[in-house]
Symmetry: C2
Subunit: 257 residues, 2 copies
């Protein structure tokens, strides 16, 4: 049994998981977090699933060695590749972002999915919810990282990807943690379609599970320590562009994983 | 002294170097080639230079073990990171893509540079030619890989990046091997500006150097063997979208490097 005062580990290929971290901090203001961004190996979305699975195991091992009490895989590609194995084989609770989003989607009729190539091709969402349509959108991640989510460029790219979506789609799963930044743009292209973002659903699920397991921190202060495998300065600048203030940040070499 | 009948090794982070391979095959139709695309670790453009330098050494080692007689670093980021060291420390002739492009640029007045973040921030082009303006363009690589180089999206993105270019620019170095696909689009945004593509200049330089060194192949057949570190099927599909027919292709795991 882990110490309830231990931090929660959250990881992503890069900065996308910060949307999940934000929702977690909102739902669990008394918890402390370790956030791991694998920025040296980002993006995961075009890589083979067995490789992404290996990365997920390496990072999980690193975070467990830092003493986390639970693990949130805040990346759709890594969740597609490494869950449910990771949850079965580790001694701490492990949460992915697919199941919570899919649970919300089950309340709608015709459901679509947008995500990275690896997430879409893995078919992992199909385990949780029937999909009427799915499309890989490789340009969305770099668009968000360039800060262009409200730019006319994003609108044109979104039209390009979504032009073949069924006219009677009721809901669209944003199957990549970068995509919530594009919500305003996606609403213009698909008016009236419910956009399902896994961040809030995942945060609710984590909060409920920790409460049930008696793992809520009675005295945490909402601290976040960031770890990155790539260049710390680039990470900090990018995270701040996306609205996350980075105060404590360490570089981890791939050899330490 | 290497065997003139040995192949020439060409490498890039992914498919961008195929533009250089094409120019090499045109300039040297009797040579055979090994093309290495490090697709598991692409893109290099946002990674720290010391990491890219390490990748370049690993790949150079692999290609030398396959018996290449010369090495072409067909990637601006890797050339910025690993040259001139690699050329000084290896026993075969090594060619990068910066110096040939810069030599062409020296014939013009005000010269600009577009490239990846790593290439632009390295300042490596500045060693060969004075630059009046430089801009990192992270969206261009994914745009080309999506096959959108002639799309209105590309035009909008190009305007976004180039709007602050000096009005009296005479030449613009395309400092990334993906960018030649965008030539038509870039000409619309910067009419009258000479676009300098390193592929042809590099191929001319390689041909001349091999001739002088007595290393031209008297009986090669223009064969190309491709090696990739990522998913072979994705590579093949992408290479063919960019106009390169892939007949012989091997997957190399990162552990073999």
């Amino acid at each position: 049994m882990k110490d309830p005062k231990a931090p929660i580990g959250v990881f992503d290929s890069g900065v996308g998981g910060l949307t999940v971290l934000k929702a977690l901090r909102h739902a669990l203001p008394r918890e402390d977090f370790l956030y791991f961004g694998d920025t040296a190996r980002v993006p995961y979305g075009g890589k083979p699933l067995p490789m992404v699975r290996r990365f997920a195991w390496e990072i999980a091992g690193f975070l467990l060695r830092q003493g986390v009490k639970a693990l949130v895989v805040a990346c759709n590609t890594a969740s597609s590749a490494a869950l449910p194995d990771l949850a079965e084989d580790l001694s701490v609770p492990v949460f992915g972002v697919l199941e919570p989003a899919a649970e919300v989607a089950r309340g709608y009729g015709k459901v679509g999915l947008i995500g990275t190539q690896a997430t879409v091709e893995s078919g992992a969402y199909g385990r949780y919810v029937p999909l009427a349509w799915a499309k890989a959108c490789p340009l969305f991640v770099p668009l968000v990282e360039e800060g262009l989510w409200d730019d006319p460029v994003a609108l044109l790219v979104a039209r390009h990807y979504l032009e073949e979506a069924p006219k009677d789609l009721e809901a669209l799963i944003l199957g990549c943690t970068h995509y919530p930044f594009l919500k305003g743009t996606l609403e213009k292209v698909l008016p009236g379609v419910k956009l399902i973002d896994s961040a809030e659903a995942t945060a609710r699920k984590v909060a409920e599970a920790l409460r049930q397991a008696g793992l809520l921190n009675p005295e945490g202060q909402g601290k976040v320590v960031h770890y990155v495998t790539g260049d710390p300065e680039s990470y900090k600048a990018l995270a701040e562009r996306l609205g996350e203030r980075v105060e404590t940040l360490y570089r981890v070499s791939l050899e330490e994983l």
